[in-house]
Amino acid sequence: MFGNPVRLLSATGLVLVLGLAAACGTTNAAGGGGGGDAGPPKPGGTLRLGISSNPDCLDPQQVGTNAALNVGRQLVDSLTDQDPANGKITPWLAEKWEVNADSTSFTFTLRKGATFSDGTPVDAAAVKGSFDGIKAIGPKAQLGNGYLAAYKGATVVDPSTVRLDFSAPSAQFLQASSTMSLGVLAPSAYRKSPEQRCQGDGLVGSGPFVFESFKSNQQIVITKRKGYAWGSPLWKHTGEAYLDKVEFRVVPEPGVRTGSLASGQLDAITDVQPVDEPQFAGNGFTEPVRANPGIVFNLHANTTRGVLTDLKVRQAVLKGVNRQEVTDTVLTKNYKPASSILGSATPLHLDLSKELAYDPDGAKKLLDEQGWAPGPDGIRVKDGTRLSAKIVFSLVFNQNQSVLELVQQQLRKIGFDLQIEQRTTAETQQLTLAGDYDFIWYNTTRADADILRQLFSTKAGNRSKLTAGNPLDATLDKQAATVDEATRKPAVEEAQRVIVEQAYAVPVFELTQVWGLGPKTHDVAFEASSRMRLFDAWLAG
């Protein structure tokens, strides 16, 4: 387990410091060991964690909200893990794996000794049962359903070898196998209904924590799995988790969440609002921050509607958005302006910040050339048509409204009239599926570039309403067919470049997770999809 030289070093340092402290009888261990001034991690204790919304369901295979995924992640292990630092897929329950040439067949060799919390072994049959179980509930598996879209079935080769077959090239599956959405549940879990699993009944995984109780709108309690010894090698320590217990408290009111953390009634909180961030700068509190991988928040254009059919108009909008001003004014320095359609935390992200630079003059020039002349109210007009488009959004992220109003003001300066329409989540979803929009505003979290195919390919979501057989389709298919980075990288980069050049979507900013940790709370970590990992977390005395 000491394959990582950095970890070996820090562990040695730790032992040294401990030895020194013991030998000298002094208590000051600061300055050594690389563990910060908090000293070595200490097992035990209950972490009280404030979360912003009630998870309607706890089964990680079914849910799509952060509140729920953050709980589910602690309960299940996945076949693979993904390194948040570089996006590489690494072993976890599977020691190794093989992928066939066109990425339609994945063979995993499972590590020995892992068991579910009901005592049954994590073997090939259990893995097959789990994947079949996810496929069986269809769209109820909100994320898994997409990951397993082409899943045909699994074969138990031997007790520790399982092969999964797909009907179409599915390179994305390798990353998907690292998510909690495809985390492995025990065979006993599928003797319960999906609704029962949602409430925690039969929610049996092999993860470092075990489900204890769920009181809706109130709290979820999970406890340490005794004897856990099969953690991912990416984690900081081995063996059992440090914390005895975690209480996820549902605290919808942002002010109460921050106030409770500040007054010591909570040890950590998620979803610190941009306006609250300054409260936890310094003064013993820490504020872990990580941008979400996947599609950034963007104005996704329907290229069949109104003025947006014109490439030059779309390009003008792309140039007319001042991304830096958005993050500076409405958000905070923790949020990054978009530098591509993919977030910077996504593997194979290509930095296109130059192409996305604010260029109002360039935008005006494009519009002038196309014959759009400023009208009496400053909005441009051509042949009696106003340069105007609607954008539909829902309030999944609190600052959406303010961001869009700022973008509206920015576009007004180049003579473009952006009309903002807030809808309910359901309605936005309906309009999206029906293609009934000029622009839609959304983001999608996924630590794999295949998300581009899911939303831009004419064979999948096709949110830009492109025609079949366009060059982008070919690139997207190419990246879907191989897990080999040498082939995949150029395809993914080409796709990002095309999307930005054609302005099929106008990237604006990266959604970012901001947590607040109390003075005693340490090492609450982000995994690759910017969700929570509590295995290494610990509380100082």
Partner: protein
């Protein structure tokens, strides 16, 4: 009252107000708020939308009476400029309850029979469902925004108006002058318009003034729950809601808009109480 009143009456009138400083103060509050709604620039020269980032989160001072918010906007300016939208929403919601409720009550009371039964059962239902639930459902159906919140609150409250109107119509209907008009051959609609409506409307109008206060509170509660005004447009409820993240660091952001709401509600209630009874009792 009128300028033709003898000096004696004027003195009495003055005395009436002098004995009620609270009422005078309430009147002043309402006049101030109305002026804010019509001509906000009379009271503040600062921009309610664009702030001065360098002056963010400052406490109350001579330069910023109510302090500044997280983007350096003057909270007093936002409260003053918010009056128009908040009052418009309140008036709209009261008008919806008043007009729809009075119409239903008038219909039920004047037609009687099955129409009455039907209307009153609808009113029963509206009253049996807690109004906040009704408003929540309605505002989701109508969509977000202050206008829709106002309509939702108005509909949720119309049952009371309908009931009162019906009761008044039933009372007036049996009045001698109505009987007389009917006997004189005046058509039913004529009687309704000329006699029943004017004579039964009084108490309903008083109820309307009374519900101003509750409407302000309900509209701001729905704004607080996130269904209301769209930032950065200032509206009182959303101002309180917007500042709640700063309770620990910037109390003034919630306190002053909250107190403004309280003052307006208090003032309208005081005035409607005066309209309701004190004038008549002297």
């Amino acid at each position: 009252m009128s300028s033709l009143a003898p000096p004696n009456a004027v003195r009495q009138e003055l005395g009436f107000y002098l004995r009620r400083p609270g009422l005078v103060l309430s009147g002043a509050v309402i006049v101030f708020v109305l002026l804010c709604a019509v001509a906000p620039e009379l009271f503040t020269s600062q921009d309610p939308i664009a702030g001065v980032p360098a002056e963010r989160l400052q406490g109350p001072s001579a330069a910023h009476l109510f302090g500044t918010d997280e983007t350096g906007r003057d909270v007093f300016a936002r409260v003053v400029h918010g009056a128009a939208l908040s009052l418009r929403a309140t008036v709209l919601s009261v008008l919806v309850s008043l007009i729809a409720g009075a119409a239903l009550g008038l219909l039920a009371g004047s037609r009687g029979g099955w129409v009455d039964s039907l209307v009153m059962r609808v009113v029963d239902v509206l009253q049996s469902v807690p109004s906040i639930l009704l408003s929540l459902a309605l505002v989701t159906a109508l969509g977000f925004g202050t206008t829709n919140v106002a309509i939702a609150v108005g509909v949720a409250n119309l049952a009371t108006f309908a009931r009162l109107m019906r009761a008044e119509v039933l009372r007036v209907r049996t009045g001698v002058f109505v009987e007389a008009a009917r006997a004189a051959g005046v058509r039913w609609t004529g009687v309704l318009a000329r006699h029943i409506l004017p004579n039964s409307l009084g108490p309903v109008l008083v109820l309307a003034t009374l519900s101003f206060g509750t409407a302000v509170l309900e509209v701001s509660a729905l704004s607080f729950l996130g269904y209301g005004a769209t930032p950065p447009t200032p509206e009182w409820g959303s101002l309180v809601a917007g500042g709640r993240g700063f309770l620990a660091t910037a109390w003034w952001m919630t306190t002053f808009p909250g107190l403004t709401v309280a003052a307006v509600v208090l003032a309208t209630n005081r005035i409607s109480r005066a309209l309701d009874g004190e004038r008549r009792l002297g």
